[in-house]
């Protein structure tokens, strides 16, 4: 008797979300099988590897990664171009730290124009994350959506307590929304229900399950993402079928195991390669459990992850 591997019977499909417009357009989602289970169903689009760009010089980065960007970090446009041109980023994730009242308090108009400038300087989709209090993020992102209307920007983030302003702006100006949940399947569903009830189409929503780094409870992310993916694909639960984004680079690059030097921790080995492994393993963990977009930092980690995705698909 010839051997047939038992297969999952998929009844659902991940929603397809379009990022960027014209020359920079990309699709994510559309999966009809668990991550990389191409032997069970079609996975039409590769997971997207986005690289981070900050609106101001980042503090507190270990030298093992800052060295790659110190020539461009006074200029987000050059930084974004370097990520795309030199490191082959599939997308740019603009981390708007300066909008935080504690870190510059950049206003909505300036933020919106900065996003536009970066977006127009690269031929890949742009993702935007805010920082600081939710009220400020909402105020800024409303304007960001308006100034960058009709560009399929992916804008982060909304939470259960504060979703209407950004969601309405994205609906009105044809952009996409990141719905954030604290590693919780039920809260993720609840927020997606609220967003769709508001009138936002489910192909305009990307979920962020609040990823953490390797060694810091990443198993919780792994299992809650896996549960969301299983509910979406095997139980056809519509409110879990949105693609997922993991903004994991800031989590990885702040942990002790990445920041401490080999001199201080000889038993941990070479600091730069340790950091690359910390990032690739963290990212692979989220890809295996269902991330459709990953936000990364180290150029060599990006190269290895892109190559591995290619091999697995």
């Amino acid at each position: 008797m010839s051997f047939q591997a038992p297969k999952n019977e998929y009844t659902g499909q991940i929603a397809k979300v379009t990022l960027g417009r014209d020359g920079s357009q990309l699709a994510v989602g559309g999966d009809k099988a668990l991550p990389f289970y191409t032997f069970e169903g079609e996975i039409p689009y590769r997971p997207v590897v986005a690289m981070e760009v900050y609106d101001s010089k980042p503090g507190n980065w270990p030298q093992t990664v800052s060295g790659y960007f110190s020539d461009v970090w006074d200029d987000p446009v050059k930084w974004a171009q370097k990520c795309v041109g030199q490191y082959s980023a599939d997308a740019i994730c603009l981390q708007l730290k300066s909008i935080n009242p504690d870190a510059g308090d950049m206003g909505p108009q300036d933020a919106g124009e900065l996003v536009k400038k970066v977006r127009e300087s690269v031929e890949v989709p742009v993702i935007v994350y805010g920082d600081g209090p939710l009220e400020k993020i909402a105020e800024v992102m409303k304007k960001v959506a308006e100034i960058n209307q009709n560009t399929n920007l992916l804008i982060g983030w909304v939470e259960e307590d504060n979703y209407k302003t950004i969601a309405a702006a994205c609906m009105g100006y044809d952009n996409n929304v990141i719905s954030l949940n604290p590693l919780d399947v039920n809260i993720a569903k609840q927020l997606n229900i609220l967003l769709t009830q508001l009138g936002l189409s489910s192909d305009r929503i990307v979920m962020d399950p609040s990823t953490t780094a390797l060694g810091y409870g990443i198993e919780y992310c792994y299992s809650s993402m896996e549960r969301l993916k299983i509910a979406a694909l095997l139980q056809d639960d519509k409110m879990t079928q949105m693609p997922m984004i993991c903004n994991i680079a800031p989590e990885v690059w702040k942990v002790k195991e990445v920041k401490e030097s080999q001199e201080d921790y000889p038993q941990w080995g070479d600091q730069e390669e340790r950091g690359i492994n910390w990032e690739t393993i963290s990212v692979m963990c989220t890809l295996l459990s269902g991330a459709n977009i990953v936000v990364m930092r180290h150029p060599r980690a990006v190269e290895i992850i892109k190559e591995t995705i290619e091999k697995l698909l």
Binding site: T212, L214, W268, N277
Partner: protein, 450 residues
């Protein structure tokens, strides 16, 4: 093939005595069929039925032990495809590879590095489980010498990989007390391996190019009562082996196919062109079902992250990992440093201590044992309440470490402030900290300058 719940039920006493912990014999039978309970839980089962059922009561993936004594490690016994369904049971072993064409001193150096790769993390010791010796030279003398060199320098279990079956037979009988894993039996040489396994009791790896090939060998071995098997269906290719590992695990668990119900070995060292890629490939098979993973690297920058990942994936989701209850001194705190308290849910501890480190403000962090629950859960369960917190503060010894009598509590339990001050008999001032860990650095900086 395993029995169904109903088939098992027919062989049970059908008394519904409940002594097994289940309401009826049928319920017990169903759990037994799912591999979720041991047959021994039934006190009234007949010897005859026991024999008939012992097979059905075994987990869908058999338990296999590699090595002997204190350094032996156990693999297999898995019964779910996704860790949230229950838990993954036995963490995969990592094996570092040495080749028999290496010079003796290089082998010794590698073994020394392997022995040094040991880390304490969240109360567990992380280490390399085994050494894999590969007969790449084709020279049986060299292989024997390499095995001798390794065996003299480590107590870790061995994995012997050679196509020379007579050498393997000789080494198996010589090292039988160490119970090395012998690699590999295939459809050509299976009869010889049955002899060796019977004579030495050593575990055997079964190698096949595809599933049919594997099942031919495992079927013959089973018929002879040999159960210590490890499957190697590796194509040494990331995509192929990703599929193979998932197919094997699915066949064993979903279809209860006993011919594939064994632990597996994946050779990550033959799959990648450099250590960073090898490390990433290995991590994929930690999550996706390998029981032993071989590596060529001994560099801590590769091994340490991999071991942490394995620890994460094999954490039992039903029992959150707990941080040790104690006073954590972060960044050389002194008399004037802030004192904070939180619960011993490991994730809570990791995130809070990380944010305190980021703030660069030296602090005393009190981590109270509430059986691994988060702050709000522990409060709701009555484990993180003023009376108990006050008791802990008194016995923790913090009052001897610092003269500071301001205690910062998590923002989520702000309501405890007044009552906690009363419980502490007015000796401490209780300050409400932020609700989220991310706000801790800002809070500490403001607190320090106030």
């Amino acid at each position: 093939m395993a029995l169904s719940g109903l088939e098992i039920f027919k062989k049970l006493p059908k008394t519904n005595c409940k002594e097994c912990g289940f309401p009826t014999c049928l319920a017990f039978a169903m759990q037994l069929a799912a591999g979720k309970v041991e047959l021994e839980k039934c006190p009234h089962i007949s010897e005859e039925a026991k024999e008939a059922l012992s097979e059905a009561s075994q987990p869908p993936i058999l338990k296999v032990e590699i090595g002997s004594g204190e350094d032996a490690f156990t693999i297999g016994e898995e019964n779910v495809l996704f860790r949230h369904e229950r838990t993954f049971i036995n963490p995969n072993g990592f094996a570092v590879t040495v080749k028999d064409d290496m010079a003796a001193q290089d082998i010794e150096k590698t073994i020394k590095e392997v022995e040094g790769l040991e880390y304490e993390r969240v109360g567990q010791t992380l280490k390399i489980e085994a050494v894999c010796i590969k007969g790449t030279s084709g020279d049986s003398q060299k292989f024997k010498q390499a095995v001798d060199t390794v065996a003299e320098n480590t107590k870790k279990p061995l994995i012997l990989v050679t196509e020379d079956i007579s050498v393997l037979e000789e080494l198996a009988s010589k090292l039988k007390d160490k119970k090395p894993l012998l690699h590999a039996a295939d459809s050509e040489n299976v009869d010889k391996f049955i002899e060796i396994a019977k004579a030495t009791g050593c575990p055997v790896a079964v190698r096949g190019k595809d599933f049919e090939d594997i099942s031919k060998v495992t079927e013959k071995m089973r018929a002879q009562g040999i159960k210590n098997l490890v499957i190697d269906i590796g194509q040494r290719d990331l995509k192929e082996d990703f599929f193979n590992q998932i197919a094997l695990r699915s066949a064993a668990i979903k279809k209860k196919n006993r011919l594939f119900g064994y632990p597996t070995i994946v050779f990550a060292d033959e799959m990648a062109k450099d250590p960073l890629r090898e490390t990433l490939a290995a991590s994929i098979f930690v999550a996706k079902y390998a029981s032993i993973i071989t590596l060529s690297t001994t560099s801590p920058q590769n091994i340490f992250p991999l071991m942490v990942f394995r620890q994460n994936i094999y954490t039992d989701p039903r029992q959150p990992m707990q941080a040790e209850e104690k006073i954590y001194a972060i960044g050389n705190p002194d008399e004037s440093s802030p004192v904070l308290i939180t619960t011993n849910f490991s994730l809570t501890y990791f995130i809070i201590s990380g944010e305190i480190e980021n703030s660069k403000v030296p602090c005393w962090l009190l981590v109270m044992n509430v059986e691994g629950q988060s702050v709000l859960t522990a409060w709701a369960a009555g484990k993180f309440i003023p009376e108990l917190i006050a008791q802990y503060i008194k016995k923790s010894g913090i009052e001897e470490k610092t003269g500071n009598r301001e205690l910062i509590i998590p923002g989520y339990v702000a309501q405890l402030q007044g009552e906690l001050e009363d419980e502490l008999e007015g000796k401490w001032k209780v300050i409400v900290g932020p609700r989220e860990a991310g706000e801790v650095p800002k809070f500490l900086k403001e607190h320090a300058s106030a």
